[in-house]
Amino acid sequence: MTQIAFPTPDPDILARRDDIISGLAALLPPECLITSEDERRAYETDALTSYRRLPLAVVLPRSTQEVSAVLCYCHSQGVKVVPRGAGTSLAGGAIPQEDAIVIGVSKMNRILEIDYANRMARVESGVTNLSITDHVMPEGFFYAPDPSSQLACTIAGNIGMNSGGAHCLKYGVTVNNILGATLVLMDGTILQIGGPALDASGLDLLGLIIGSEGQLGIVTEACVRLLRAAEGARPVLFGFDSSEDAGACVAAIIAAGIVPVAMEFMDRPAIEICEAFAHAGYPLDVEAMLIIEVEGAQEEMAMQLERIITIAKAHHVKVVKESSSAMEAALIWKGRKSAFGATGRVADYICMDGTVPTSQLVHVLARTAEIIDTYGLKVANVFHAGDGNMHPLIMYNANDPASQALAEAAGNDILRLCVDAGGCLTGEHGVGIEKRDLMRHQFSKADLDQQMRVRAAFDPEWLLNPAKVFPLDERVPVDAPVPRKERAAA
């Protein structure tokens, strides 16, 4: 039994499948169009694998012009479109529906321009997050947002979800690191928003489209900000006997005027799972662990660490373990960044993504444990403590529908808890289908209606990624443009 509903496919579109595929085939060469059931299977889900729907067809355009042509065609035919990056969404943001085509950006994966003097790279949106950093690292530069899926995930997907990562405490999230984008609207219109200059002209449309979950248009190119890497970076492990001490330590560090480049939290179950996988040297005799990373020259890092260690001692730190080599440092991050994968080896899990004010961390952790106990489940907590972005990994048995239903119910309780504590449903994964029906818990009807009205300014007919973000009922506010069908009938 699955909990999340999908809209009923439009029978008219399903009946016209052959015609629609012919229409698409006229726009693209055969290698850019996937129609066989076997090959479509690869696109039926994303990283929220318990839900899947086979799309009508999959299109993999090679250029902005091809994306425009395909969207223009779908618009004229009333065909829904689900945009897709690498399909790593944990929220079901890229899960298709039977009456929609998928437009994937995987063939648009070139780095077009690197400009170190202006600290900018122009890329096609299908490039992977990590490939940009890999490309510029020899010159000492990097692209800052670093989601755990950065080896696979694309800039298009990062823009769709406003992705964060472990290091955004210092460097910000995607919206703070994109200078410009080429956006194709549902009707095929191509817009250039921003560019290589430091700020964009007119209304801040970049701020609107970044994090819009593929509902406003498809981004085909982006100008991303490059940053010069620090002289050195050093992650240090701090083990505590209680989550309370670890949480208080995080707040005290920030209050002392120190913003480390990253502050990551893991509880005992997460430490055990990640250590068994990565052999990173994590302490196994503590209840909570912080990975705190400092940057700079050797003397600067030593000075910062001295301050941090003093604060940690005041909060009863039990173990302090400094990485003594680049390899040890890499292992520490490997353990953290593989937390989801490592958890997947011991159990099926769903990963929540609520954010809470950091002063509420300890309270929310304690309540999370109570909620999980109530449902008779297990949880591992691994999250970005510096910015309060929680990631409880709720473990369950995917072969047991009752277990999945319990896990989803527990997850929903935890997300409501995050909102009630002054936070939000999702810090970096997005709403997708997963949290769609919880939106009313965070937003009033007026708030949601206003968001939907702005959305409708881009896609009045709700053709782009329509089953995501907003609750399925009451989708179109009364004064929004009349949907296509009713207009045709009128």
Binding site: L185, I190, D204, G207, I210, E428, V431
Partner: protein
């Protein structure tokens, strides 16, 4: 024309609802220190947020502050400075530019979205605005974002509220993320570089690992000789000492760098931030271009007209001052920024000039169509600051 001064969101909301019913337009403002920014507009009424004032949340350990739109920026800066924190984007104060009086408000700061020198490193107003509540054109109070730094829940109406010049909604309450105030600062200075050479030095400095927090070039001209190239470092004292040395060494090909101490550095950057170094009686333009194209952009303008100017943001922000009666200036400046892949805002000019020439960068037809749809989705009757940014918006 009547002036309305609501004491809270509820009053403001009722007032907007009455305007929605009657279709009468509104000029929105805070304390009016930057009311001359944008196209001149005529509306039925004026709504001032001065009385909607006060800090409603401040959590130093979370680096977050929330305040009503009419709260003076100086009040916020004072309260957070007491805890060793700051607004990271160096809020721009436009009183010198416009010769206005009164206290700039946080609502006006957000509506105009203009950031100071530290924007090159830390990001601008929009990068630190994490939550907003505003009254839309129907009179409804709308919330977006929140008080946490990471939040991707729903369509983000926070960023677009910044820099919209009051055309999309009446800002009621703003939440910002803060940064610890650096322990100290110092500025490297070198005299006599050409524009192109000065900007080359700035770009190199920005590409070092020393976290330059501001970089400007002040060319020689009517008020200054020789030119000054400036690079600021902010950090703990020991880091500032180390980084300044490293930078001077890395940039030794440009000559010998002097060091300005913390006090002199702070004073100088304050002047650069608020554009007090350029003549105050002239027209003032703000150009945004990729840094390496800045010197050529200026050269192209200088080929046609006489200007005073300086560069901030590693060259990416150019302040240009020129005679107010130079009607061709707009054409030359727009052509130069277009060639440089940038854009320009006419910050200060007589009403007549701002009424007849674009103030903000002209947009493509497709973009204007989308802007109009967005405006209509938030303010369906076009009540708020109609025409402030673009005719018809």
């Amino acid at each position: 024309m009547s002036a309305f001064l609501p004491k809270d969101e509820a009053e403001a909301s009722d007032y907007v609802k009455s305007c929605y019913a009657s279709g009468q337009s509104l000029t929105l403002m805070g304390n009016g220190t930057r009311q001359h920014l944008g196209r001149p507009i005529v509306t039925a009424h004026t709504l001032t947020t001065s009385a909607m004032s006060g800090i409603t949340l401040y959590e130093p350990s979370e680096l977050v502050i929330r305040a009503k739109a009419g709260t003076p920026v100086s009040e916020i800066e004072k309260v957070i400075a007491a805890k060793g924190q700051m607004l990271p984007f160096e809020a721009m104060d436009l009183r010198h530019v416009y010769g206005t009086q009164g206290e700039p408000t946080v609502g006006g700061l957000t509506a105009t979205g203009l950031s100071g020198p530290r924007r090159i490193q830390q990001g601008g107003v929009r990068d630190h605005l994490i939550g907003v509540s505003f009254i839309n054109g129907r009179g409804e109070l709308i919330k977006s974002g929140g008080r946490v730094m990471k939040n991707v829940t729903g369509l983000d109406l926070v960023k677009i509220s910044c820099g919209a010049h009051g055309t999309l909604g009446l800002l009621a309450e703003l939440t910002f993320k803060l940064r610890p105030k650096p322990e100290t600062e110092a500025t490297l200075l070198i005299n006599g570089l050409s524009d192109a050479r000065g900007i080359e030095a700035l770009c190199l400095a920005m590409g070092t690992p020393y976290e330059v927090s501001a970089s400007a070039h002040l060319p020689s001209g009517s008020t200054r000789d020789p030119a000054q190239t400036l690079i600021r470092i902010e950090n703990f004292a020991s880091s500032v000492t180390y980084r300044v040395e490293q930078l001077a060494h890395a940039l030794k090909a440009f000559g010998v760098w002097e060091i300005l101490n913390a006090q002199d550095s702070a004073q100088l950057w304050h002047k650069i931030a608020n554009v007090t170094l350029l003549p105050s009686s002239s027209a003032l333009w703000r150009l945004s271009v990729p840094p390496t194209k800045a010197a050529a952009c200026v050269a192209q303008i200088k080929a046609h007209m006489s200007i005073d100017y300086h560069y901030d943001w590693s060259g990416g922000l150019i302040w240009v001052s020129c005679a107010t009666d130079n009607a061709a200036a707009s054409m030359h400046i727009r052509a130069a920024v277009t060639a440089a892949q940038g854009h320009a805002i006419l910050i200060r000019a007589p009403d007549q000039l701002r009424a007849t020439h674009p103030v903000f960068e002209p947009q493509s037809e497709a973009m204007m169509k989308l802007n109009a749809s967005i405006k209509a989705s938030l303010d369906p009757k076009g009540l708020f600051n109609p025409g402030r940014m673009y005719a018809g918006l």
